[in-house]
Symmetry: C2
Subunit: 428 residues, 2 copies
Amino acid sequence: MTHPLRLGIAGLGTVGVGVLRIIRQQAKLLSARTGRDITVSAVSARNKSKDRGVPLSGYAWEDDPVALATRDDVDVFVELMGGSDGPAKAATEAALKAGKDVVTANKALLAMHGQELAELAEANGRVIRYEAAVAGGIPIIKSLTEGLAANEITRVMGVMNGSCNYILTRMQSTGLTYEQVFDEANGLGYLEADPELDVGGIDAGHKLAILSSIAFGTRVDFAGVELEGIGRIQIEDIRQAADMGYRIKLLGVAQMTGRGLEQRMSPCLVPEHSPLGQLEGGTNMVVVEGHAVGQIVLRGAGAGEGPTASAVMGDVCDIARGIRLPVFGQPADTLVAAKPAVSATPAPYYLRMGLDDRPGALAKVTAALGDAGVSIHRMRQYDHENGNAPVLIVTHKTTRADLCSALDKLNALPVVIEPPVALRIESV
Amino acid sequence: MTHPLRLGIAGLGTVGVGVLRIIRQQAKLLSARTGRDITVSAVSARNKSKDRGVPLSGYAWEDDPVALATRDDVDVFVELMGGSDGPAKAATEAALKAGKDVVTANKALLAMHGQELAELAEANGRVIRYEAAVAGGIPIIKSLTEGLAANEITRVMGVMNGSCNYILTRMQSTGLTYEQVFDEANGLGYLEADPELDVGGIDAGHKLAILSSIAFGTRVDFAGVELEGIGRIQIEDIRQAADMGYRIKLLGVAQMTGRGLEQRMSPCLVPEHSPLGQLEGGTNMVVVEGHAVGQIVLRGAGAGEGPTASAVMGDVCDIARGIRLPVFGQPADTLVAAKPAVSATPAPYYLRMGLDDRPGALAKVTAALGDAGVSIHRMRQYDHENGNAPVLIVTHKTTRADLCSALDKLNALPVVIEPPVALRIESV
């Protein structure tokens, strides 16, 4: 057996504690599988005295994560602090420059600074591993980078924010409003300190940007992700979508088109009987489509102590076993800057709006759509009170440009008294 | 860039041709991702003159796969001939002894001779890779061996024979009998030359034995798999199961119990709304449960040119990238001989039988079950003709031993005129 692999762990929240638990409880299993002992030299966190339920007395303590990252007795810096800048970035850079490999769960850091960190890692002959940054315990980074490496990837999709999926499926099952379920989820601690990271799609968008880079050999480009959160989704939309055989999901989609790289994170309708449609609660799902393999679906817990620690330690095991790859699967200097293509692929859309209930209102709506080149596949006007007549339209496939033009025209109509909600219907 | 990785491919059926296609069409992608060119030095198959739709003129031809496997210009021997013995085994051994790595899609070879081949590979410092041997394009070997390496695996389950799942779901959707759908599937070329390999559960059992070895650190033990095929399943069982909210699947289950390693491949009832219950047609699904990660589900095409070639080439890419692990994830001499435990875990069972339609028949059945210590959860007797009264029973959780004792008693009853079909209800 070669010498032990020695970790320095910065950040002792849920995930950090989970990592310590695995190392303490599964030491024999880990060394059987990797051929090495995996040990912890030192830890760092904001509060030294807090009782975390695992003994820390066997590990050196560092107040400063940069000091931790550069210790002589650390081979791998495990970054579990979070945040795209500040200490997480500083300590990661310091670790790489000091010749340490890095394992991180930090999606924001990689989505914002992935390219420069990949270059820094390669310049120092080090690796950065981040399975835990995307979809928790699901081994999607490994599957995409290694298992499916012989595929030209045609599309990557996923439900990668468990909190949003919890909110949407809970609205569906209880009939509660978005606001009610949001408050409930927040009270249960399901949302980030800044909930907009979850419900605004930012957290999931970070994950999508990372997957895009691996899938398409492009520089990670979070700014190129078309982002839309779930805050506009009303219980009425959930109900109407269900009635037509759909579910609403905060869905990430990345695909390379003739016009560039399309990256979207937005609420979409998906068929209720598809694997994505059937995904309930906080579970995550990633769908990869490759030219040879067809469609591969991976499903599992997207967060939580055990699943996230499993992913972190999977990366640690790889390093212990000598598995070393470029950060995004190919050398950083071969990753190309993709041209962002905003919703390049046409799709059918779901539209819901409220009309002033008087003769000719519907005719004005259909005329506006026709003028914009958007044709109607299904339409329904249903029971209402107080003069606001709800109308539901499913369009034929249309481009985003034509759709936007239609929405502009609809918003300009005096008969449209509740502005249209437009949701893409994704073919999965 | 380092020197090219040179393959010798034995077997040019569907998968072999798929591998050649990927190498020819994705050369640029493969070298971008692996940092090396991947080339083919030589090929071998039974019939040199057959038109396979891909040009072979650029490759040397060998009639003898052993000669191919040991050529100086071959770094990796790709074994796509199949068969647990004969040329596949001889050529694999020759390749390892000649210092070649091996990539194979041959589940039978590994299930029958995995341990000795792993020892031979390690003695020669070589690797054997076999992602394509289990569940086609799904990267399950990699996920289990690497991504989930930090988990104590508690259970591995899967639907891993697409032909059986096709037959069972087609019976469900059409109402046709097993014999009718079997003939249809056979006519379409969906079944092996010896269909018993599929419908008898042997092929899927091979796959389960391989997964068990990785999951539990045991020597691959196909003889320890409790095998039962789908040939007994009648359309009546499909209907009755559906009526109670279940689907029938040829399900493999492996788990380490207090009494030993339980490996079963048998038709089971699973809830219709579970991911396994919803799996239609020829698709495969593998479910891995780990102490930290919880439940991970992987789904994709289990066979076919593209998916299987994707898995073969994923392994080739790993070798090109220098990823090298012991064959079953840990050194062969550390794998332990597991004690087989036949159906150690209790479960509820579905029982269907035909009774002579006269007073007291049902009382005799319930008494026989009670005598065997099997208690009844649900029972139903339904419409019938010709004096054969169909009775359906769902038991409470019972051990396999008690169930067998109950079945013996039932078979000995003169009122039981159609012997009971017993299917385990698996909690998924």
